[in-house]
């Protein structure tokens, strides 16, 4: 092994010592805010050598001693050209000017990092401004809902923020906020995600061809970076929508040295509904309050110690809470009774990250991070009754509490090493200490004492090391090859995994390339979920001695083309095989919290998914957007389910089309639309009833004809297809204090009743008819208009 590493370094040395070379390094930033521009590129025009800024905005490019001309560019920014004679290692901190400052008509992008050039495949990044410009459900911009519009990504149920990527499950997405995993990304039972777009700088979705630096999930990586805070001046923005309001303030604490950003959001349905609830309670003679709200808070501090060292601290805190409190007093004769009933349902995430960026030299960059992530769900009810008579006072109480969750402490170190323009080497290691609490129910009452049911918390340790190189072998051939090795320890059981990753591109012409990738992934944790609508009761559980880690292998091939520097076209085909999947057994319900979870799941399942994705994207100009189409098939097979036969995955979607577009008429008005179409979700429906056998003797009073229901194969029916059109029209105006904007949006503009679930019911034509059985489709959201006022200063 040592020999191989030595040989590798010799080869790299040989490459880098062919001529006298120097390195240009530095950061690429927004000129207005000082914000790092993640993924911004620089290109040496003469040799076509280039590099891109990492997730901290750092770049490095080594070139021969010569007169050089460099062009720096980024989507939504004016390219900047630098010409100078390179005769020593040079540090350049480049500030790119946003297009919005320069142009009459705002453009969302300029030519940058063309799709056909990169080794990345199955990777999508949507500019945050474009995300914010698209129509928003109830006025609340949602990053995950925009990602659902991308090919290869299914949305699950109506209105949900769930992501099902290339036939994978909802637990197979690694959602990272500033490098910290988020375990439950949903608010309001999945209708909104926890990511507040005002606090976000960059979003990237990887569906395949995973670079070796990522691990721990099978199907996707959603890497979201928070803004760092404006280094130049205090800025703010906010909005008031149909259901929520939010505000973000950012600015320098010490100009060009230390910055902050704080962003908060809260719904106010509970506040608006309070007068109605109180009036109703007054009529009933009780004191009742009830409501639901969610809130979240993002905070980030960014401090530049010196050109070589930077510190970051970021935190996210979010909670959903539903509550009901009722007090009632009744007096009858000489007896008075007081009751106090309280109910509470709460779930939320807390994540924290502290990071230290260190530049060792122009070619070596490091990032050390420690993180904490916690997801907690609890539900409680307390009841107290006091009865007073002239002679005696009696009290009865009962309380019940159920809680579950997961908590991680993690530390990681990542290095970026750029020895030459032809190599971008990344390597690093990470450790995670997990603690799983998969459901504990505690019951207490004045009659029966204390009872506790459920599984004990489980601790587990996960570690990984990785190395990868983005290697430009020739002008035409470039590859990213690496390996991710991981281990997991739980209940005296160790699991190991070596996961090779490779992706490559071959230039067929100047703007057209062929790409191919292979990735092997291992996931040591599982999510127990059976409805897939982001319910907070979903349980994260570890691999155990009985439940083995999930694994996946994926291959993808495709073509990428850039047309007239404005359009990007990609066509990809993929095949993914998944092993050791788990799923609730027949009859299991999230309502059932008793017993060991391991007894409720079918294990060693296999999944297979294949498909073809087309994406045509326009990132520049007054009209931007994309058209995506996916043709796919996803199946599952478990020995214990469906009598061992293969069945369609619930979110198998044969056809999926999405069209998203924004049009900026002028500096004061824009219009956007999104239309989606998808084959209906697979469901299991009853087909027949039949006489069932009975071995029991029944009392004659309970005797009845035994009846069983025949369901046929699992998921053998399809709901109606899903389609929806959302529209949005915004107009804004400059004010003395800044800018204000009104956005009028319509969700489901042509009022399509899309299926949420199907139920078998008796329907009566009139009150006297015996009724007949019908399948009834329930839909959640008809046409929903919303208006949002937002401001910037």
């Amino acid at each position: 092994m040592r020999k191989i590493i030595g040989l590798l370094f010799l080869i790299i040395l040989a490459f880098s010592s062919q001529a006298q070379k120097f390195t240009i390094s530095g950061y690429i930033k927004d000129a207005e805010t000082g914000e790092s521009l993640i993924g911004a590129t620089l290109l040496h025009l003469k040799t076509s050598s280039g590099s891109s800024a990492n997730t901290h905005g750092f770049y490095s490019l080594t070139l021969p001693k010569d007169s050089i001309s460099l062009i720096y560019s980024y989507v939504g920014y004016q390219p900047t050209t630098m010409q100078f004679f390179l005769k020593r290692d040079t540090v350049i901190i480049i500030n790119l000017q946003s297009s919005t400052v320069l142009n009459e008509v705002v453009v969302r992008g300029t030519k940058a990092d063309p799709i056909h050039e990169s080794t990345k495949m199955s990777t999508l990044s949507v500019p945050i401004e474009q995300i914010k410009a698209l129509p928003a459900f109830m006025g609340e911009t949602d990053i995950l809902k925009v990602l659902q519009l991308m090919p290869g990504v299914q949305s699950g149920n109506e209105g949900s923020t769930g992501l099902y990527v290339r036939g994978g499950g909802p637990d197979q997405n690694l959602m990272l906020l500033d490098g910290v995993p988020i375990y439950n990304a949903s608010h309001l039972f999945g209708f909104f995600s926890v990511f507040n777009a005002d606090a976000i700088n960059h979003v990237e979705l990887i569906k395949g061809g995973f670079p070796a630096r990522y691990g721990g999930r099978l199907s996707s990586v959603i890497d979201i970076n928070m803004k760092e805070g404006n280094m130049k001046k205090v800025k703010g923005e906010g909005s008031i929508g149909s259901i929520s309001a939010k505000v973000t303030v950012e600015g320098p604490i010490n100009k060009d040295k230390t910055s902050f950003i704080v962003s908060a959001r809260r719904t106010y349905i509970d506040v608006l509904a309070q007068p109605i609830i109180r009036a109703q309670a007054k009529r009933e003679g009780s004191q009742t309050t009830a409501g639901y709200y969610f809130y979240d808070l993002n905070l980030k501090l960014n401090h530049i110690l010196n050109p070589r060292n930077r510190l970051y601290f970021s935190t996210y805190l979010g909670n959903d809470k539903a509550y009901a409190k009722s007090k009632y007093t009744d007096t009858y004769d000489t007896i008075s009774t007081k009751t106090d009933d309280q109910f509470s349902l709460r779930w939320g995430n807390v994540i924290t990250a502290a990071r230290w960026n260190h530049v060792f030299g122009p070619k070596l960059f490091s990032n050390v991070t420690t993180t904490y992530s916690r997801y907690l769900f609890d539900i409680s009810q307390k009841f107290q009754e006091t009865q007073n008579t002239p002679s005696i006072s009696e009290e009865y109480f009962s309380g019940i509490l159920y809680h579950s969750g997961i908590r991680d402490w993690a530390a990681k170190v990542d290095f970026d090493y750029l020895p030459s323009p032809n190599h971008f080497i990344r390597f690093g290691a990470n450790n995670i200490w997990h603690r799983f609490s998969p459901g504990v129910l505690a019951f207490r009452s004045s009659d029966e004492g204390d009872t506790t049911l459920g599984a004990n918390p489980t601790s587990a340790y996960e570690a990984a090391v990785y190395a990868e190189d983005d290697w430009k072998i020739s002008q035409r051939l470039k590859l990213n090859a690496g390996v991710h090795a991981s281990a997991f320890a739980v209940e005296n059981e160790w699991y190991y995994s070596i996961q090779p990753r490779i992706s490559s591109r071959f230039l067929l012409s100047d703007d057209f390339s062929f790409k191919a990738s292979y990735s092997s992934m291992t996931q040591f944790i599982h999510l127990l979920t059976n409805v897939g609508i982001g319910l907070p009761t979903d349980l994260w559980v570890p691999s155990t001695a009985r439940i083995r880690p999930q694994q996946a292998k994926q291959v993808a091939i495709g073509f990428a083309k850039t047309y007239k520097s404005q359009f990007e076209f990609s066509l990809e085909g993929y095949y993914k095989k998944m092993y050791n999947l788990i799923e609730y057994k027949d009859g299991a319900s999230y309502l059932n919290i008793e017993g060991d979870w391991q007894d409720k799941v079918a294990t060693n399942g296999e999944g297979e998914s294949l498909g073809m994705e087309v994406l045509i994207q326009k990132k520049t100009g007054a009209v931007t957007g994309w058209l995506g189409y996916t043709l796919s098939k996803a199946v599952r097979q478990f020995d214990e389910l469906n009598f061992g036969k293969e069945y369609a995955y619930k979110y198998d979607r044969r056809h999926d089309i999405s069209l998203a577009m924004t049009h900026e008429w002028n500096k004061r008005m824009d219009f956007s639309m999104a239309w989606v179409y998808g084959t209906g979700n697979a469901i299991t429906l009853p087909i027949a009833t039949y006489e069932s056998a009975s071995s029991n003797y029944n009392s004659p009073f309970s005797y009845g004809n035994s009846e069983a229901t025949y369901y046929g194969d699992r998921n053998s029916f399809r709901m109606r297809s899903y389609h929806r059109l959302d529209l949005s029209f915004s107009w804004w105006k400059d004010k003395k204090w800044g800018q204000r904007k009104w956005a009028l949006a319509v969700y489901n503009a042509y009022n399509r009743l899309n299926p949420f679930f199907i139920n078998l019911e008796y329907r009566h034509d009139n009150p006297f008819s015996p009724g007949s059985k019908k399948f009834v489709q329930y839909s959640l959201f008809p046409v929903i208009p919303s208006i949002t006022y937002s401001f910037k200063f």
């Binding site: 009859g587 009833t689 025949y710």
Partner: protein, 294 residues
């Protein structure tokens, strides 16, 4: 409580939801033929043959019997032992009955011919496993109603995979039109060991598999509530340990699970096991050991 909360939330969501009646392509003209037969050495062969009903058929009550079926019982060499003849029974159903009884330890198969359709199934008539002892702890009476704990001991044969059903039967009677009608009913069996308190039930009785006690003496402790309604005139109570086949076990576990989860829109629907080739239902054997409580 969790259930209440989520049902409330779900109902709220449903209450505000829009509904549409939808049509699914479920073939109305092709009922399945259903064959049900649970056989034991204690009784002659009996097979019920009926038609299934389309799920959208709104009729209640008995399923249409198949009156023109040819029902044969075959031994393990595929020789016809007996052709059963059909007649209505006292529960207004139609039953195909024979004159012979199965023998413990033998394999049997059934062939049912309905028009041009042939349905087949096979199962073992298992050997009964005796109850070696039965202890009743009457001191375990609880505050709420009468309850009793019982320990049922038996020796599991080690060489095979075994399945059991434990039942407690009580005789009862009622008076109708001055006639005394006698009946037998199952009492609800509740395991004392929480590890056994799973979904493996068949109505009131409990189904066991021997993976935790293969080849060993096993003491199955149960709790019975409403054990004796009339302590002054106690009815006859029998404890039954049935050796059942794997088909029997799988069929009734799934059937019970389907009943328990019906009405829960978030539960994954339960498919009931069948071993009837070209049809639905169950053909499975069992053998009983009975101890009567004095």
């Amino acid at each position: 409580m969790t259930r209440k909360a989520f049902v409330l939330i779900t109902l709220t969501a449903i209450g505000t939801a829009c509904t549409t009646i939808v049509d699914f392509d479920i073939p109305l003209d092709k009922p399945w033929v259903v064959v049900n037969s649970l056989f034991s050495p204690d009784s002659v062969w009996q097979v019920h043959v009926s038609y299934s009903r389309n799920i959208l058929d709104s009729r209640f009550g008995s399923f249409d019997p198949v009156r023109d079926a040819e029902v044969n019982i075959l031994d393990q060499n595929d020789h016809v032992i007996e052709t059963l003849s059909g007649s209505p029974d006292r529960f207004f159903q139609y039953t195909y009955k024979g004159k012979t009884k199965p023998t413990s330890g033998e394999f049997y198969s059934v062939q049912v011919k309905v028009k041009d359709k042939l349905l087949k199934a096979a199962s073992l008539s298992p050997i009964a496993v005796p109850i070696t002892s039965l202890d009743v702890d009457s001191s375990a009476f609880k505050s709420q109603g009468e309850a009793v704990e019982m320990s049922i001991t038996f020796k599991d044969p080690g060489e095979t995979k075994n399945f059991y059903e434990v039942k407690v039967l009580r005789d009862g009677f009622y008076v109708y039109n001055q006639d005394t009608i006698r009946y037998v009913e199952n009492l609800f069996v509740e395991p004392v060991d929480p590890a056994m308190n799973n979904d493996n039930s068949n109505g009131a009785s409990k189904l066991l598999k021997d993976n935790l006690f293969n080849g060993k003496n096993y003491v199955f402790r149960i709790k019975l509530r409403s054990y004796r309604i009339y302590p002054e005139n106690p009815p006859r109570v029998r404890v039954v340990l049935q050796s059942v086949t794997e088909e029997y076990f799988r069929y009734f576990v799934a059937q019970s699970l389907q009943n328990n989860t019906s009405g829960d829109p978030f539960a994954q629907p339960v498919q009931i096991f069948t071993n009837i080739e070209n049809g639905l239902g169950i053909f499975a054997g069992y053998s009983s050991s009975v101890v009567e409580l004095k």
